[in-house]
């Protein structure tokens, strides 16, 4: 008798525990729906911080990511490509006007429709920080500005030579992880991104994302502090290393993604295990509120805008012709008081300019 009551009590306790855990899991699933609110547009900032012929692989890295991102839908007007652009027309290039990312030379990632926004000696830390914070001089062309808003998901890809806490820009200057974190915080203060995916393929890359303190950032690096990122293979016909390991495997994954794919960011973050990459891939998820395994990869790499159906139009009659004519004449009279002047050659905004 005693045994039975003991057994019944046990069963009751187990049932209660199951009920409590199911209730708490219901509560845990609410935030995902709440955060489905989502983004409205996608931007990409792709940066190669090194120059010179022996850093061919960095340019190939960035251009391959550029091709993938373009193929998946982000238009050129929303991609900021920052490379030194000294590979394709380099006198040491045995295949002029091309940049390949594979020894079999199947794809020319340079192509004839690449749009480089910051090239040559414009790739400086100052320009990079100005681009991120939005403090560009008035008169900067629209293609060189990051015109994101609070609904934009931004993909930031950096590659080059780095170290513990810094990234080298073109052999003459460095950007520290603290400066980068401050620039991203300035972006957050002005609500210039909705979510950010930060990818970095350099030696000791994980040190660059360690200082971030703004919300909604998911970061991945090709190696942890103290490890070097290694390149993948040499192309004997060109004579230099042609692509880095982490980017090679990341591209392998991206090539199988289509614009309507259901692959998730969680799968992307686990691409390139240690046996393939030799260095350990570092991931920073604590600033990102969603579970990466539930985030579709097209949230950052593709560009699908949300859509609402319009079910009816307004039933309007136009203003009568005479009324319209008189209104336009009145406007013309107001305008014709100004003396004639030349139209601006490059239309720029009046914000911040004299």
């Amino acid at each position: 008798m005693k045994n039975m009551t003991y057994g019944v009590a046990n069963i009751l306790v187990i049932l209660i525990l199951m009920l409590v855990s199911s209730i708490s899991s219901i509560h845990r699933s609410l935030p995902e729906d709440f955060l489905q609110a989502g983004h409205t547009n996608n931007w990409a900032v792709l940066v190669d911080t090194s120059r010179f012929w022996f850093n061919y692989r960095h340019v190939a890295n960035v251009l391959s990511i550029y091709r993938s991102v373009k193929r998946l839908g982000i238009p050129d007007s929303q991609i900021i490509l920052i490379i030194a652009d000294d590979m394709a027309c380099n006198p040491r290039n045995p295949r002029p006007a091309t940049v390949f990312n594979n020894a079999n030379q199947h794809i020319n990632v340079y192509g004839d429709d690449v749009e480089v926004d910051y090239r040559g000696y414009e790739v400086t830390v100052e320009n990079f920080v100005r681009l991120l914070t939005g403090r560009l001089p008035p008169g900067t062309p629209r293609s060189k500005q990051l015109l994101t808003d609070e609904g934009s998901n931004v993909l930031v890809y950096l590659t080059g030579h780095g170290g513990d806490g810094f990234l080298k820009f073109q052999d003459s200057e460095e950007v520290t992880s603290q400066e980068l974190a401050d620039a991203v915080e300035q972006m957050w203060q002005k609500r210039r991104y909705h979510e950010m995916f930060f990818m970095i393929d350099t030696c000791q890359g994980a040190s660059l994302y360690e200082k971030f303190y703004s919300p909604n950032i998911l970061a991945v690096a090709s190696s942890l502090v103290g490890e070097d990122s290694l390149s993948h293979h040499v192309d004997p016909a060109i004579g230099v290393y042609i692509i880095d390991r982490y980017t090679y495997y990341a591209l392998d994954f991206l090539e199988r993604v289509e614009p309507d794919s259901t692959k998730t960011m969680g799968e992307f973050l686990s691409v390139c295990p240690k046996r393939a990459c030799i260095s350990t891939v570092g991931v920073r998820k604590d600033l990102f509120p969603r579970d990466p395994h539930k985030v579709p990869i097209t949230d950052f790499f593709g560009s699908l805008r949300p859509v609402e159906l319009t079910l009816s139009g307004l039933n309007v009659t136009a203003m009568s012709r005479t009324q319209n004519q008189s209104r336009r004449e009145e406007l013309k009279r107001k305008v014709s008081d100004r003396s004639l002047q030349y139209a601006k050659q490059f239309p720029t905004s009046k914000l911040g300019s004299s």
């Binding site: 709440f34 955060l35 609110a37 409205t40 547009n41 839908g73 238009p75 050129d76 007007s77 830390v125 100052e126 920080v129 100005r130 939005g134 403090r135 560009l136 008035p138 629209r142 500005q145 015109l147 808003d149 609070e150 609904g151 400066e179 401050d182 300035q186 203060q189 002005k190 919300p215 909604n216 614009p259 309507d260 509120p289 593709g302 560009s303 699908l304 805008r305 949300p306 859509v307 609402e308 159906l309 319009t310 079910l311 009816s312 139009g313 307004l314 039933n315 309007v316 009659t317 136009a318 203003m319 319209n324 209104r327 336009r328 239309p347 720029t348 905004s349 009046k350 914000l351 911040g352």
Partner: protein, 564 residues
């Protein structure tokens, strides 16, 4: 002999004294030049030019009380009902955190109803409030003759309600008139939209906790000027020639509407035609089994986002920095016509309008060429077709209203709106837009200021030049003035002040001179100057001790001489 020795030793002592004095005076001059003059001079010349900022006023903005004053006038058939109605409304609306209501009872005048035979006739009366932000509630005795609704919202700032004298018991409060309950619902959900406004402000201040609601996500962000790009896409111009005067359609339908909106922001309208551009999606063929043998093509709702992405590459819509709204008309060729949109449930969209919009981007209309033109085999190609301007521009106007933030009617039972017949806005819609933009610009300016003051306070060596300083002072002044104007009910002036504050705040924040990289951080400053000055300063500082000792020695010996 001994005397001479004494004399020489005395002289020697005096010379020694003089030498000592000269040495000490020389040391004192070094000290004066280096420490007293040099150090402050160095500090002054390496100081960064910073205009003093009103940090305390900026911090006080955080607790700035933003409330909007609303004047509502009421006219009823008899004064007692009017007073009871005012009391009821005050009771229901007293929990409002954003609005301060002032109710007034106006006496009934026969002239209100003299010429009116319908609610539309009442619209031409002269009793409508002219000032932005005011509302007028008018009891119309015979309203139920024209419409089943109890409340009709007019085209100007008036709401008509019927004379239903029935009393209703609500859950919390005792007996209210049915009219009071319905009117408060109309005010909250439609005209004032307090919940939407508060959610917008919360989403801006704490974006990690609150999100914008549906209309907030769809609405274009506040800006000084917008670009509107109208595009006509004709994929096969050799088979179908479109005969449409697009500039005239824009002049007739779009420009009057934009003229009404012009106090809020400037607009630039551009138009273009795109040929040989396809939709890049495969619609499905649906054969009509109802007996007519017509077929049409079905475009699933899930495929719609994939239309926008490749189309955007060709629109070339961004030549200026202003936010751009894109309106695209797609006219399918006869072989692919008619093309209809199917919802996610697999049902064709009712209403004859195949259109969709994308929040903060624009809208796309699919306009099918008419059956007669396509199936007229006697006409050689290219077949000519004139699109229906009224239908297309009607859809664009509906989409433009949603994208600019004009609220759509939520389904409240027994409440209707007078339908729009011209392209202008309803006046209370314009007021609602003014309120929303004012709050948005005020909140944005406040947040920008706070973030800027935090940045400039933390990094003490960023130069704050005069332009930035003036902008910041202007923003603080404008924000305080705008809040004051909102409190006394001057909506138009409050909007203008908030716009100035918003634009100045943006100019100050994005000023290119505010870059920490351009100026030396403190540790670099010391690293440069210490190796230069430290070797010089060490002997000077050490000699201070000797100077003090010498002076105290002199004082002692003088003392001794005096005593003797």
């Amino acid at each position: 002999m001994a005397l001479k020795k004494e004399e020489t030793s005395d002289d020697f002592a005096k010379v020694e004294d003089n030498n000592d004095a000269r040495r000490v005076y020389a040391a004192i001059s070094f000290v004066v030049v280096l420490i007293v003059i040099g150090l402050p001079l160095w500090w002054e010349t390496t100081d960064v030019y910073r205009v003093p900022l009103p940090y305390s006023r900026i911090a006080a903005l955080d607790s700035l009380d933003v409330t909007l004053a609303m004047n509502i006038s009421i006219t009823t058939l008899d004064a007692a009902r009017g007073d009871k109605l005012i009391e009821d409304l005050k009771d229901i609306l007293k929990t409002s955190k954003l609005f301060q209501f002032t109710f007034r009872a106006l006496p009934l005048e026969k002239k209100h109803f003299a010429l009116a035979h319908s609610p539309e006739g009442l619209e031409s009366g002269s009793f409508h409030p002219r000032k932005s932000g005011e509302l007028f509630l008018l009891e119309v005795p015979g309203l139920t003759r024209f419409t089943p609704n109890h409340v009709m919202v007019g085209l100007k700032r008036t709401v008509y309600f019927s004379s239903e004298a029935r009393q209703e018991r609500t859950t919390i409060f005792p007996i209210f008139f049915l009219a009071a309950v319905k009117l408060s619902e109309v005010l909250e959900l439609l005209l004032l939209r307090e919940k939407s406004l508060r959610q917008m402000v919360a989403a801006m201040t704490t974006p990690t906790e609150t999100d914008q609601d549906r209309s907030g996500r769809r609405r274009m962000p506040a800006a000084e000027e917008y670009d509107i790009m109208m595009t006509v896409v004709n994929p096969e111009p050799e088979k179908l020639q479109i005969d449409w005067d697009l500039p005239e359609a824009v002049q007739d339908y779009l420009e009057p509407f934009l003229y009404e909106l012009s106090p809020l922001a400037g607009y630039t309208v551009k138009s273009q035609w795109l040929y040989f551009v396809t939709l890049n999606v495969q619609p499905k063929l649906v054969i009509d089994t109802s007996g007519f043998g017509h077929q049409h093509y079905a475009l699933a709702e899930d495929l719609l986002p994939q239309i926008i992405t490749p189309l955007e590459k060709k629109l070339a819509s961004r030549v200026s920095r202003n936010p751009c709204l894109n309106f695209v008309v797609y006219i399918p060729p006869c072989e692919a016509a008619p093309l209809h949109i199917y919802t996610r449930q697999g049902v064709r969209v009712k209403g004859g309008v195949d259109a969709f919009l994308s929040p903060r981007w624009g809208g796309i209309v699919i306009h099918n060429p008419s059956h007669m033109v396509c199936h007229n085999s006697s006409v050689p190609e290219p077949k000519e077709y004139s699109p229906d301007t009224v239908a297309i521009m009607g859809v664009f106007l509906a989409q433009l209203r949603l994208l600019m933030g004009i609220p759509e009617l939520e389904g409240i039972s027994r409440v209707g709106q007078l339908p729009l017949s011209t392209v202008s806005l309803r006046q209370w819609e314009f007021d609602s837009l003014l309120r929303m933009r004012t709050l948005e610009q005020l909140t944005s300016a406040k947040l920008t200021l706070q973030s800027l003051s935090q940045l400039l306070g933390k990094i003490s060596n960023i130069v704050i030049n005069d332009a930035v300083g003036n902008s910041i002072y202007q923003v603080v002044d404008c924000v305080e003035r705008a809040a004051h104007l909102l409190k006394i009910g001057q909506l138009d002036e409050a909007f203008n002040e908030s716009k100035k504050a918003f634009l100045s705040a943006e100019a100050a924040f994005t000023d290119p001179s505010l870059l920490a990289l351009l100026y030396f951080p403190d540790d670099q400053k010391y690293a440069v100057y210490i190796p230069l000055f430290l070797p010089v300063m060490i002997p000077v500082v050490m000699s201070l001790k000797n100077i003090c000792a010498w002076f105290s020695g002199r004082m002692c010996s003088k003392h001794k001489l005096k005593k003797e």
